[in-house]
């Protein structure tokens, strides 16, 4: 019998030696991972990675809801069209999947930033530790900046938060969210957490210029009238301009088309951009596929593009007001050449947002183009705007505004043309619209200036597209400038307050 017992025992023992503490092979358990600066650096990269999902839908929350972009066709009833239509007409449902995705994506970045901030103690090198803290705070502040502008009061999550704790949490007043944003950015500036420029290999990660510029914009956006907000912003913007060599003319700037050229990424204009990389490595830019014309036969971009973010008649008219504006051709196209048939396609289906098109893209959603978040012109125009609000038009402000116009090859202003505070303000606002068309700035600018409702209603009434609907597209009210808290939040906690109107 022995000759049977032994093999049996051996086989039983071999199997029973299995350990019940199973750790994954294909991922790494978080509690074992974070142990040194390298692992924290990887987690910081992980925060930046979360920006891809944010950017994917950000145009729909901002540009599409402004007067710059709209749907391509009306009365289409495909599912995506329904979601776009809600955003385009500012009649968003609480269950809108894109709003949910955008909300989720912002908080994923917040969570990843919180993870880094909670794990800094393993970084022994003080300089690295400061940098990682600065980057995490910058990205967290940016996310909350978007959240508070689009939703008003939101949930403040500063630490790793479990499901049970989250279930009973309530939205914090907008003041508290603004305070958190300021605290994060002011900490970076006050404690000098970030270097003025990143080392070459890290180009693209947030530096001090980005943090200062963002903080200035936060000051200028804050809803609460504060006597010194423009002064504080102006000082910070001055420092950023100083660091960028105080450009004083159009020729001192990167030519407009080069800013977005995929072969000139990281040019002098870029202060902070979301950086994409093509080549099927999972971090390509989706915007060529999202914006290029449908059925273009490969003449604009390969694949089956969506033609989202369709330029409005209104933005085209705004560009046409200054013949020869070089920015128009970069921002949008109204035709394309069909290489196969030799025909210029110039009907309504040939109009598209061309700012982030990569004609060399080889697979869908995998373009090279970076997406600028903060660039030099933004800082210059913000500085001009802040100084005008503080002291009225000045020669220094006019230099900044005119440098932008000079680069665009359109006539510069004489001081007499923009002599009043009001005239200068209007000139800057108009310039920002053209300069940053399709860069997700317009809607935020309108909110900042308090002109969103009037501008959008004028647009809805004047754009012939909306009149062609089978039903009446109604003008919007103030409450529609805020997005609804996703219904999934209220499904879990009914006591969470929805935004008014929804």
């Amino acid at each position: 019998m022995k000759r049977f017992i032994i093999p049996i025992l051996v086989s039983v023992l071999a199997l029973t030696s299995c350990n019940l503490d199973k750790y994954p092979f294909s991922e790494v358990a978080a509690n074992e991972y974070v142990k040194d600066a390298t692992s924290v650096n990887n987690l910081v990269i992980g925060i930046y990675n979360g920006l891809y999902d944010v950017m994917y839908n950000e145009w729909a929350m901002t540009e599409l809801r402004s007067d710059n972009a709209r749907m391509r066709v009306n009365n289409s009833t495909s599912q995506d069209s329904k979601l776009i239509e809600q955003l385009d007409q500012l009649v968003v449902l609480t269950a809108n999947a894109w709003v949910q995705d955008y909300w989720d994506a912002l908080y994923v970045v917040v969570n990843r930033a919180n993870t880094v901030l909670e794990n800094l103690d393993v970084v022994n090198d003080d300089a690295l530790r400061a940098r990682y803290e600065g980057e995490a705070r910058f990205l967290r502040a940016w996310m909350y900046f978007d959240l508070v502008r689009l939703w008003g009061p939101v949930f403040i999550v500063k630490n790793k938060t479990g499901a049970d704790e989250a279930r009973t949490m309530q939205r914090s007043p907008a003041e508290d969210v603004w305070a958190l944003i300021e605290e994060d950015l002011e900490t970076i500036v006050d404690k000098n957490l970030l270097p003025d420029a990143m080392p070459a290999a890290d180009l693209g990660r947030a530096d001090m210029k980005a943090a200062k510029a963002l903080l200035a914009k936060v000051y200028m956006t804050e809803y609460k009238p504060s006597a010194d907000k423009y002064a504080k912003a102006s000082a910070l913007l001055g420092e950023v301009l100083e660091a960028c060599g105080n450009p004083a003319s159009g020729s001192a700037l990167v030519p407009y088309a080069d800013i977005f050229d995929k072969n000139k990424e990281g040019n002098a204009e870029i202060i902070f951009a979301v950086r994409y990389r093509s080549g099927n490595v999972g971090i390509g830019s989706p915007f060529t596929t999202l914006y290029a014309p449908v059925n273009n036969g490969g003449n604009v971009a390969i694949g089956a593009p969506k033609q989202y973010n369709y330029p409005s008649n209104s933005i085209i008219s705004a560009f046409n007001a200054n013949p020869g504006d070089v920015r128009k051709d970069v921002c949008l196209q109204e035709s394309y050449f069909n290489k196969t048939t030799g025909v210029l396609v110039d009907n309504a289906n040939a109009r598209y947002c061309s700012k982030f098109i990569d004609p060399d893209m080889t697979s869908e959603y995998d373009a090279e183009n970076d997406f600028p978040i903060i660039r030099l012109a933004d800082v210059m125009l913000l500085k001009a705007e802040a100084d005008n609000e503080l002291n009225g038009p000045s020669a220094e402000s006019l230099v900044l505004l005119n440098a932008i116009r000079e680069r665009a090859r359109i006539p510069v202003y004489e001081l007499g043309e923009v002599a009043s505070k009001y005239a200068f303000r209007q000139a800057v606002r108009n310039e920002r619209r053209l300069e940053f068309a399709f860069e997700n700035q317009r809607f935020f600018d309108l909110l900042r200036w308090g002109t969103a409702v009037s501008t959008i209603n004028e647009y809805l009434a004047s754009e012939p597209f909306y009149a062609a609907y089978d039903y009446v597209v109604n003008p919007i009210a103030e409450w529609q400038t805020l997005l609804p808290i996703p219904v999934s939040v209220l499904n879990i906690n009914k006591t969470v307050a929805q935004n008014p109107g929804y």
Binding site: V92, A163, G204, K262, A304, I492
Partner: protein
């Protein structure tokens, strides 16, 4: 083939099957071999093995069945002379995009009488190619090799005491591959090949010690055992594009590979490699006792340990007891001659469920990359917890206490047999994936909360209506009824979950486990004035669904949502009648489900509202032509998937199965064959469903993804239609 000698028995069989589905490119080829050997080495030692090997090759069409009725039937499959001219020279397959290029003048003529174009959508708008064209340009194959082996040894140590060790493996390797030509799905879709493989390795050892004692009318059976199961899965997915030609369909010709899982929200980059594993370890003990075959008692206890849970949450005890009493065996029952047998039984037991995803209890990090550096930048690898599921280290076994009671009765010379079972169970620590506030950075987490009560009754009756030498007629009836109720859910009043179209399901305490949840509708809006003068949503337009202001506060918002019915049937039933007249036999099975509500996800498809008459008839077209005031125009207005509009009555009754046969007698065969029977069977020859139902198969349900959760069910989308099959067969024995 089977056979053997006194101390050795063998069995071996081989089979080959080829089956063609109802769609093109839908077939399956199967080969299998099974062999079994049992050897008695000595009176006290037995061993044996059981091995089977299977191979199958499956071709599946790229299209769902639903793609056929999502295609405009007025467009030809292939271009004809007229469409070639109309579309400007296209030939071959008539694709939606060919018609997209045609602009249709839809505006009023301009001042000079020329046609004008407004931006209205084209009636032919579909970028998707027609399904026949897609099929002609795509291929999808799956293969599966599986080997199952199990060897045992059984040793009788002393009389009545046996040790048995059984050790086995189940290994399955299932590669699948696909190819699509350039522009196969729609214009611009690249040539693309995929390769996926799953290697599944399951090792199982079962070791038991069994003691058997019979003394007089007492019988005792004791069992102790230990089992261990280790399951590993390896998944690989590769995706290649950039083919120089559509003549080569394998990945070697691809120039671009998507290896990294995508993080930019676009689904590109499907490459993955995963290798999860888990272990389940159990110890069990069981005692069975019977006296004179009249009183039966049994008790068992089992301890399970699962690696899916963390230390301290891993173990669960599962006791059970049962008792039976054959009343008809009692001497005082013997004189009741109409009663043939009566048995009553009752049991109580605990069962468990550890069905969670791998590593749900553990926070894990995966790749999360970015680009930095000069120029176009370089790929920099990073890490993040990029799962949407929040780890929960506290999850543990879900347990169900179940009570069962029933009886079996045979009367009138076994002409009437009745079996009735009633059950009552309480499930504790319900284990499911619960939504969490996404501001945590995650959208869901596995959790153990809630108690559910299930109660029901199952009745089976068999009657022999006629039985004589030339004619027999028997009837089998079954009926079952089940009710469930949510008793508690983590101290909350309710938990709301979301399906793939954001449709909601509510688990509310005191009500059925789940119910559909959303807005009740009252027909469609007719005019803009009507909308402005009544509570409405900003997105409402004429022709869209009108939502009922359930919380009558004069405004419509999410607080107006209410439970809209549950996905559970009132009852299910079936009846089989079997007739035998001489050598002919006939049987048919009627089966049905009554009082069930399904969520028909086809409402989501734009095309359902364009081409399916069930969604077209009597619809609103304009204030002057409002239809019957109930059917919305296309998909305009409020999101229909959030309302009661997709809820339909899924009750049905069908003639599930009919068998007609003729069996030849030995005499007919003149003893040349052992047996011969020819038969004809038909499935689903008749099928009736409710007028309210607008789909093609009321039984179809989505069961994968979020729908594998017990808290989300009753949803169907793109179902495969009910298929009627007729089979002719010959059964020969020799």
């Amino acid at each position: 083939m089977s056979g053997g000698r006194k101390t050795m028995r063998y069995y071996t069989s081989a089979s080959y099957t080829k089956d063609q589905g109802i769609m093109l490119q839908n077939s399956i080829d199967k080969l299998s071999l099974r062999t079994r050997l049992d050897v008695d080495l000595s009176p006290s030692i037995k061993f044996g093995y059981n091995i089977s090997a299977n191979y199958s090759k499956t071709e599946r069409p790229r299209n769902n069945f639903i793609d056929f009725y999502r295609t405009p039937s007025f467009l030809p499959v292939m271009h004809n002379d007229w469409t070639t001219e109309f579309t400007g020279g296209y030939t071959g397959f008539a694709r939606g995009s060919h018609f997209n290029q045609i602009t249709t003048p839809t505006g009023d003529p301009d001042a000079y009488g020329n046609p004008t174009w407004d931006s209205k959508v084209s009636p032919f708008n579909s970028a998707n190619n027609n399904p026949k064209s897609v099929m002609a340009n795509t291929e999808r194959w799956g293969e599966s090799f599986s080997g199952l082996g199990n060897a045992y040894i059984e040793i009788t140590i002393v009389k009545g005491l046996k040790f048995k060790s059984s050790n086995g493996f189940n290994v399955r390797y299932a590669p699948s591959y696909s190819y699509q030509n350039l522009n196969a799905l729609k214009d611009g879709t690249p040539s693309e090949a995929t390769f996926n493989s799953t290697l599944y390795v399951d090792l199982l050892t079962e070791n038991t010690l069994n003691y058997n004692l019979t003394k007089g009318r007492h019988k005792l059976d004791l069992l102790a055992g230990y089992t261990l199961e280790n399951t590993r899965v390896q998944r690989v997915a590769l995706d290649g594009t950039g083919f120089p030609t559509d003549d080569i369909h394998t990945l070697n010709a691809a120039t671009v590979f998507s290896l990294a899982a995508s993080n930019n929200g676009n689904g590109a980059g499907t490459g993955t490699f995963r290798y999860p594993d888990k272990v389940l370890e159990s110890g069990l003990a069981r005692a069975t006792y019977s006296y004179a075959d009249k009183y039966l008692l049994s008790a068992s206890l089992r301890l399970d340990r699962s690696s899916l849970f963390t230390r301290g949450n891993r173990n669960a005890w599962f006791p059970s007891v049962s008792a039976g009493w054959r009343v008809s065996q009692e001497p005082w029952m013997q004189h009741i001659d109409w009663l043939n047998s009566l048995k009553v039984r009752a049991s109580y037991g605990v069962t468990g469920n550890n069905n969670v995803n791998y590593y749900s209890a553990l926070e894990v990090l995966g790749g999360a990359n970015y680009a930095t550096g000069a120029g176009n930048g370089s790929l920099i690898s990073g890490t993040a917890n990029n799962s949407s599921t929040l780890a929960n280290a506290n999850i543990t076994w879900e347990q169900t206490d179940e009570f069962n009671a029933g009886f079996d009765l045979s009367v009138l010379k076994n002409r009437l047999n009745l079996s009735v079972d009633a059950y009552y169970s309480i499930t504790r620590a319900l284990l499911f994936e619960q939504p969490t506030q996404s501001f945590t950075g995650f959208t869901k987490y596995w959790n153990n909360i809630g108690r559910v009560r299930n109660a029901g009754v199952e009745i089976q009756m068999n009657t022999v209506n006629v039985s004589n030498r030339t004619f027999t007629w028997t009837t089998d009836l079954n009926f079952s009824l089940s009710r469930n109720k949510l008793l508690e859910i983590g101290g909350e009043r309710e938990v709301i979950t979301q399906g793939e179209r954001n449709e909601n399901y509510i688990a509310r305490v005191g009500e059925p486990l789940i119910q559909y949840y959303g807005f009740r509708t009252q027909g469609v809006w007719n005019t803009s004035e009507e909308i402005q003068n009544n509570p409405h949503f900003a997105a409402d337009v004429p022709g869209g669904l009108r939502i009922v202001d359930e919380k009558p506060d004069g405004v419509l918002n999410d607080e107006d949502r209410v439970p809209l019915g549950d996905p559970y049937p009132d009852f299910t039933y079936g009846m089989t009648n079997t007739f035998k007249i001489g050598k002919f036999d006939l049987s048919f099975l009627i089966q049905g489900v009554q009082g069930i509500t399904v969520f028909n996800g086809d409402v989501f498809y734009n095309e359902s509202h364009k081409y399916n008459t069930a969604y077209l008839e009597n619809r609103w077209v304009s204030p002057e032509h409002p239809g019957n005031g109930k059917v919305p125009y296309m998909k305009v207005g409020y999101d229909m998937l959030l309302t009661d509009y997709p809820l339909q009555d899924g009750s049905y009754v069908c003639l599930r199965n009919v068998i007609m046969g003729y069996t030849f007698s030995k005499k007919d065969l003149r003893n040349k064959l052992d047996g011969l029977r020819i038969y004809l069977t038909g499935n689903n020859l008749a099928y009736l469903w409710s007028k309210d139902y607008k789909g093609v198969n009321p039984e179809s349900r989505m069961l994968s993804g979020v729908y594998s959760s017990p808290m989300i069910s009753g949803y169907q989308r793109g179902g495969f239609p009910v298929t009627t099959t007729i089979t002719f067969g010959v059964d020969v024995k020799f």
